[in-house]
Amino acid sequence: MSFKQISQIAGSALAAQTVRMNTVASNLANAQSAAGTPEAAYHARKPVFAALPATDGVGQGSTGMRVQVLDVVQSTEPMRKAYEPDNPLANEQGEVFYPNVSPVAEMTDMMATSRAFEVNIEVLGRVKSMQQSLLKLGE
């Protein structure tokens, strides 16, 4: 029986969703941070997930796939330009650059992340009860 691998798989998903939630929090927190140049402005961050075979430590091939966070990439969307001549950060044209964060997209991402997290917690709970009832076999 491979309950250990299942816990590993669900655990890796929890870790990945936590990273994703981290980027969402970071993006939303910095959504209003202006900068003098587009390069200096905050870039929205996104994790890149990849599936990886779960191993049981014996080096055997496995049918289970866990999640791995390959990288956290920065968005290449154009920055939001605003005309704010009173802003101390404004350039000669009186423009400041706001991050390319879309609050709506981040909010939906946040909901998807927390749902995915909950589902994986549910998986862990179910596997735990399966294992516990298996231990009671023959009682």
């Binding site: 998903a13 779960a54 549910e122 399966m130």
Partner: protein
């Protein structure tokens, strides 16, 4: 006459092992619900159980034969991910219940054996 404990629980031992294997695959699907390009998989329980029991009669264990198959999604996502979380959750919970069922049957077989041993 000797009692073979491996045979005492009948098909339920193999069913349990297959259910645990399927739990792992379904957990993988759920875990990778937001991984781009991940393709949801599942095993054909009936044919795998048949292969397992046939392997038993032939004297070998055929539990690990047969790769999981890919699920056909109702509507594939643009990033190539074919996990549909509702489908996976339903399959997972059904599978967990089936696991409990197999466990109950195995338990009943063992209890019957205990009764026979005690001469009740």
């Amino acid at each position: 006459m000797s009692i073979d404990f491996n045979k005492a629980v009948g098909i339920h031992g193999e069913a349990l092992q297959l259910r645990a294997e399927r739990t792992k695959i379904l957990a993988s699907n759920i875990a990778n619900a937001s991984t781009p390009g991940y393709q949801a998989r599942d095993i054909d329980f009936a044919s795998r159980l048949q292969a397992a029991t046939a392997g038993d009669e032939a004297g070998g264990l055929a539990l690990d034969s047969g790769e999981p198959q890919y699920r056909v999604p109702y509507a594939a996502a643009q990033d190539g991910n074919t996990v549909e979380i509702g489908v996976e959750q339903a399959a997972f919970s059904q599978n967990a219940l089936d696991f409990q069922t197999s466990l109950s049957f195995a338990n009943l077989e063992l209890k019957a054996l205990a009764r026979a041993i005690n001469g009740q």
